[in-house]
Assembly symmetry: C2
Homo-oligomer: 472 residues x 2
């Protein structure tokens, strides 16, 4: 009987799994019967963003945590598909840090080229899964969100590709209940235009706090405070921005910090991270992990230890993204189809333990990049995913982190070289700090201007920002 | 074997079901084995409000749609429990339109008096339900949100008491994606303090639009526009407020209306209602209905037509609330325990049809109040729920609606007489328009002031509002 494979989610990870099977099919392999369930009405996951907050039009939690004017915060050269280059997609070199819509276009381009959309049931959410130990089958109940009809599907293999950056972790703070201004988690942040002239408190010290904070600075926020639990980020912040230790409590619109200082704020953005959550899985199949580079209980970061018919993609904290999901999907494919033989439970446990021990000893961010590079190397070596110069990518990560520390507002104006094609990125026509139009159209066809003048803000204003800027 | 009853939700409806069984037990009846699952960490449902928006601390959709400074928008005399009066709870007369915390205290008071908390598993969300036609048993999978552990329970009878005012209906509007200000559904509205001096657009023409709009007026919003799809509400709005037909599209911060007018706004609140949604039920057991006084497919508005072991409480649009949930819970109890014999499917269908036909012909709001009054009468007549003067309550609804039309900012200062105890409500010490502290403490123990002076705003300012007011 043909193998039946279920994939939950058609974001970058789910699409990587479809592409992995498509790649095998193109090489003549028999491929399984595949069904991929996607709750949104299009693929792309996080990259298919929405203006909505909280719950979507069907009353399901909004998936995307992205926002207007989000530009890549890492070099595109670090996430380039080994089998579908930026050159192939755009037909010419582009800059290293494109906005969301440009990267969304890129990931769609690869899957649109092949015939994989047929496998995806859109507007379909996974509700419940059970596993029968005797028949070795998963029964997955899904709901068609347009009709409300629930139905069950039987699978031999199940791929969890729903990601783990969409369910916010939102701690409680004393007095926050009566803070009179806006309070939101970064997940519900949709744009900083309205923070012009406002005093913003970001609670958190990772990517969200840094990026939303600098977004608010770019849009003219009066003051930005970043509040950290353990350590400050320590970037060379602009004059608008300071770091403070953790909030102890709120009193009216005043936040009090653990160093005894206090300040008044108009809005609070909780950049407090995300939680792994798989409400469609029973607890014995559900990954529980903080956001780390190597969650336990997954062999090669992919195969569920107690049930090797279950696979997780992208469950790691991520230096690498799209290309890591690819490497994982190729690996999962080969395990499912028997091309790769799994070692015994004990051997797998020892392998996981080895990685966890190494993870526990990582001294700094550079070492973390090397760690994930080595992880990718193992996956890629085990499959026919096109090899590429992983050490060069690891160096790119280190350069990028150094650039951020040198210039948090300018690192996106740097250019990097593709390890896939050797192509050097072009300088974008507008500095990130002045780029007020993040559309694909403007990105690709905007007028080229002197990168050093910084005078292009007036010509780089989309219609929807005109009112806001005029009102200033 | 003892009957096994599962109850999903411990809000006013779920608590009514617990109380119905408790009442029978006190009269000497044998009561079933009861398990009630509540996803929040306390009971009270909507009344157990939260500062959070979107998803809660466990990543579950936030249940409560209530907000700071929410005062009852209907007379408390219309919702009074027949078996637990306001006099019994507070020991003295209070006003007719108390704030949220006061009503929360009241509904908690009744269940705290009895020993029903033992039946409730808090922090426990229902994930999945199946029904076995042969054994006539429900299998319900629930997840303990604190441990992540899923487990299954078997029930003979299942009561759906999750309500239908917590999953927002959020339509799409052209251009809303790039509206630079705040956009939220009423479900995520938490307080109007920050709208001081702002221009607000409320889309909708029902309770949410009216109440949040007047809340914003009370808190000093500069301008409030209410946008209706079919008909304006037509209240005597204050000078800040106008009604406009439906938004056709947004352009930047400008909303365009179908009458050709347009205006600029700082924030948009989508008061576009709620949807029935039961993600823990298979579609064949899941109620699909608009928000109406009599949803189809429920005999006496309670018993699922195709499976009479399944019960819905509070699935109606509501004039009556707490006392209606009681009447339904008493009825459901007596059906479950065989005290009430159900007529045949065909007879039940005819009964439902009778109500649906009558509903379809309702000419106005007064007739709607009479309709739901008659519905309650049938339920109460069928059980031992303490009878009370329903016609008097129906008249209260009509008086209340007339008061609203006479004075949308003043109707909450009116007083009404209890049909349970005959007690006349007292005038509250502060006019609603001036009452800036909605705490139980201030409500019960605030200084009594002349209702006619309107000069008490300075003394009625809680600590958490001081900063905001000072900043004006």
């Amino acid at each position: 009987m043909t193998l039946r494979v279920g994939i939950i989610g058609a974001g970058p990870s789910g699409l990587a799994q479809l592409r992995a099977f498509e790649s095998a099919r193109q090489k003549g392999a028999a491929i399984p019967e595949i069904k991929c369930f996607e709750k949104q009405d299009d693929w792309g996951g996080q990259w298919n963003n929405s203006w909505r907050i909280g719950l979507d039009g069907h009353g399901e939690p909004v998936h995307s945590s992205m926002y207007r004017h989000l530009w890549s915060n890492g070099p595109k050269e670090c996430l380039e598909f080994a089998d579908y280059s930026f050159d192939e997609h755009f037909g010419r070199p582009i800059s290293s840090f494109p906005p969301r819509e440009v990267l969304f276009d890129y990931i769609k381009g690869r899957v649109e080229k092949s015939d994989v959309r047929q496998y995806v049931q859109f507007n379909t959410v996974a509700r419940h899964t059970s596993y029968n130990e005797t028949t070795r089958e998963f029964t997955v109940t899904v709901e068609n969100l347009k009709t409300g009809i629930t139905e069950t599907h039987i699978f031999d293999k199940l791929v969890v590709a729903t990601g783990h950056f969409h369910v916010p972790a939102v701690p409680e703070f004393k007095g926050i209940k009566t803070f009179p201004g806006e309070v939101m988690h970064a997940h519900d942040f949709r744009g900083a235009e309205r923070f012009y002239g406002k005093r913003l408190l970001m609670i958190g010290s990772s990517y969200s706090a840094e990026d939303i904070g600098m977004q608010a600075h770019k849009m003219g926020a009066a003051a930005i405070t970043m509040s950290y639990r353990s350590n400050p980020m320590g970037y060379h912040w602009p004059d608008t921005t300071v770091e403070r230790p953790l909030v102890t409590h709120f009193q009216g619109s005043t936040a009090h910090f653990s160093d005894g200082t206090h300040d008044d704020f108009d809005a609070v953005v909780l950049c407090t991270g995300y939680q792994h959550k798989y409400p469609f899985l029973p607890s014995e199949l559900s990954l529980t992990s903080p956001n780390v580079l190597y969650p336990g209980n997954l062999y090669k970061g992919v195969v569920w230890q107690q049930n090797t018919n279950l696979f997780y993609l992208g469950a790691q904290d991520q230096y690498y993204t799209f290309n890591m999901f690819d490497a994982q999907a190729w690996f999962a494919r080969d395990v499912m189809t028997g091309v790769i033989d799994l070692p015994s439970l004990t051997e797998r446990e020892a392998d996981i333990r080895h990685w966890l021990d190494r993870q526990a000893a990582l001294p700094d961010h550079d070492a973390e990049a090397d760690f994930q590079t080595d992880y990718l190397r193992e996956l890629i070596d085990a499959t026919d995913y096109p090899p590429f110069d992983l050490d060069a990518v690891s160096q790119l990560f280190k350069d990028w982190m150094r650039h951020k520390h040198e210039n948090i507002l300018g690192y996106r104006d740097m250019t990097h070289r593709s390890v896939i094609t050797g192509t050097m990125a072009t300088q974008h026509h507008t500095r990130w700090l002045n780029a007020m139009d993040d559309s694909l159209e403007r990105y690709l066809h905007g007028t080229s201007q002197d990168i050093n003048t910084g005078q292009d803000i007036n010509t780089d204003t989309p219609e929807d920002l005109t009112d806001t800027l005029a009102a200033r």
